[in-house]
Symmetry: D2
Subunit: 157 residues, 4 copies
């Protein structure tokens, strides 16, 4: 599997009154991992992922809209100071949209490794001027194709 | 259909830099609607839903853990001062878990009504002492059964 | 005293792992009270405060920027289903800025009433086109003057 | 000056609909910097600050409660991928409380450096069993004394 590994730090405020990472906070964490994976960096000194070819500035031509998300919470996540190991790949690469798949693992080096959450997000690229979907460009497709793997299948109820 | 209608207010901070309700904020909104629907109220003067038989206090015997969630975002939600009309029902009532289904609609009275988001959440009732699932009680089952309807089916990618 | 009373609901996610309303969540609550007090409503059926003469839409001509805030946390706030009674007045009305003062009280009807938090916010009105402060208009000043009272004085350390 | 420098990353969701870091999000950022500065780490491989002698686990004997906060927002903060340089010192070391002072600067290496926000937080150490303030221990005082400097003075309105 060719997965991206995005170390993603919790914040203490991600915990809820049960002392676990709140289910909604998980979407913030996936958002941060996704930005690291897909948004290019202004800062030339910073390491960027090979997939980071989207321009995420708020005045850029492209907005990334979320069309659907699915999450399976396997284990409650306690407060951890070391970053989660969010593993990320592309489950489907369409015309104007893609499905991002994630596995959220315990911090690298913690044994035994624990799989906390599995999730997928369908993203649509939208032209900021017309508010309409726009096609994935050749540059984007070339950057993303190496990371296309089998999509997650979730347990049915 | 026997649905609960839970008026649920946005906060301005639910918007992100695109000026829409953020995808993760939606889970906070569903959480608020769910609490109104399922958690009993201390306050005897307050109107409670017929389904509100769970004790949501942090020192209560039951925790409600989220096992899975699925969301389909149909339309971006702008900032709205009037409460969203979150419609909620039970798509499946199991032994120790239930599936809550939601449709998130524009505020009551706005025409034409718009369906913004469809979602479902699988909740497991967990005993706070043992950290293990516990069975749905007879009182809970009696309160919830009238609101069981067909679960949502989501569009497949 | 001529204070505005803005009933403001907690969300369960305002609690942190200690089971209290998080200190940062308080600023979200004050923001909501402030919007109710100062932003006009599109919805003609909705009750608006006399002070609600600012246009809060994201495409409006005015942005309200926060220049400073001061908060004194007197008592931890538990999870409450009934809205907090946020009392709000104007401690100073300047040329392009104003100081809003708040007292955050337990829900109306709970005895004895408890004062949880005291706070103040200095707001600057900024022209969205020029990004520069703009003067408080005559309409705004007329609406706000009746609510000017002594500003809070905070306990010094 | 002996200041701690705590690199602190923004999240995209810290932005509000104006495209700036929201004023309430700033308190989350200061919280993260404070945790890095004061909470010990389980992970022996991780670098910890000399000041990190508080046990921040939710089952520990000490809770850190916030008694007051003051913030001065000097410049709006745009979305930045590189971490903010939060500079932190102790403005006052009392019997059971301390005042933490912060300056929030643009990322290290960006020229010219920009000072975005100045802030202070008064923290009370509370015994988790009795819910009452407890004295700063000798170990804590020894760790923290080298970082005591002049407290911030805020501009008066």
């Amino acid at each position: 599997m060719t997965r991206l590994h995005v170390p993603t730090r919790l914040r203490w405020s991600d915990l809820d009154a049960y002392g676990h990472v709140n289910n909604a906070a998980m979407l913030r964490l996936l958002e941060e991992a996704r930005i690291d994976a897909f948004w290019s960096r202004d800062d030339p000194s910073a390491e960027a992922m090979a997939t980071a070819v989207l321009d995420g500035r708020t005045d850029s031509q492209t907005m990334t809209l979320i069309a659907r998300q699915e999450l399976e919470y396997l284990l409650p996540i306690p407060y951890l100071r070391s970053p989660l190991d969010i593993q990320l790949w592309i489950g489907r690469l369409g015309g104007a949209s893609l499905e991002v798949c994630y596995e959220v693992w315990s911090p690298v080096g913690v044994a035994p490794a624990q799989l906390f959450t599995r999730a997928s997000t369908t993203i649509v690229l939208v032209d900021a001027d017309t508010d309409r979907p726009r096609r994935i460009s050749d540059v984007e497709r070339a950057a993303w194709t190496p990371f296309v793997e089998e999509p997650l299948t979730f347990r049915r109820h």
